[in-house]
Symmetry: C2
DNA sequence: GCAAAAACGAGAATGGTTCTCATGTCACTG
DNA sequence: CAGTGACATGAGAACCATTCTCGTTTTTGC
């Protein structure tokens, strides 16, 4: 199940800021929230404001370079789309665990994989551009 | 890809309030937000406060009776887990469209199905209880 | 009935995200 | 070089869905 992010990438010409943001995400071993990125980049030689962080995260997301998922707490976590990670998320404490490999290739989740985790439900969502927005963006 | 919600259901003995909430979700043709449900039930003969709506939504979710997904806007939408719906979500305008059938059985999304929608990335998440929380809940 | 426990809800608090707008930056031009 | 316009930036305010607080009401167990 490969989402054609490369094909979807409209304009890979990133600004320095966008590149800085993307590299921070790629360098991180885990997903980062907007707040995390802000705190991280605050310490760099070229600090980035919170508004700019969110602005560019949305832009990168619309370009298919960054994916976003929401924890039960409502916090949004970002990661580069090149990482094909999937997670088990606890609806009680909100903790998440990365699955060792993409489960879509093995839909009947084996007991061993779950390792005690009790699945209650799943979500499968596709993010992208609807025809109306593609058309509007092309017209601009 | 059937999530064993029934097996996971710890205590299907719902209170009147929980039942009212679940029935409202089942009766609705679309997913509803917490605010939607509050507004809807406000007009019923037994109105429900916002705090109670969210309290029970979380409870029903932990029981695997209700699923929740987040729009790019951050708004959370709820639906009964018995409905196996999946969506295309636009990262620009946030609109969502229900897929005609569960795409997990047809992973290579056919062009016709997309109908002009440009997928940028997808998310696949499992929600449930981690071992620690199962243990803690069992102990209580 | 009656007391203890649980459920309830109005309104305040929380906190992540977005918006506003004044300022900064940069590429051009003449 | 100023001059100029378009765009990027960020501090802080605004927003708003959700959660928390806490006094009241309802239910439960006996």
């Amino acid at each position: 199940m490969n989402t054609p992010a490369t094909e979807a990438r409209v304009d890979p010409r990133l600004t320095a800021r966008q590149d800085q943001l993307l590299q921070a995400l790629q360098a991180a071993t885990t997903e980062l929230s907007g707040q995390d990125l802000h705190a991280l980049l605050r310490r760099s030689s070229t600090p980035m404001g919170l508004a700019t962080v969110y602005r560019h995260l949305r832009q990168l997301q619309q370009w298919g370079l960054v994916r976003c998922r929401h924890l039960p707490s409502g916090e949004a976590l970002f990661a580069p789309t090149e990482r094909d990670d999937h997670h088990l998320t606890c609806v009680d404490c909100g903790s998440t665990r990365r699955l060792p490999h993409c489960p879509v290739h093995d839909l009947e989740l084996p007991r061993g994989e779950l390792d005690g985790f009790l699945p209650l439900f799943h979500t499968l969502e596709f993010y992208g551009l609807c025809p109306a927005c593609r058309q509007r963006q092309a017209a601009q």
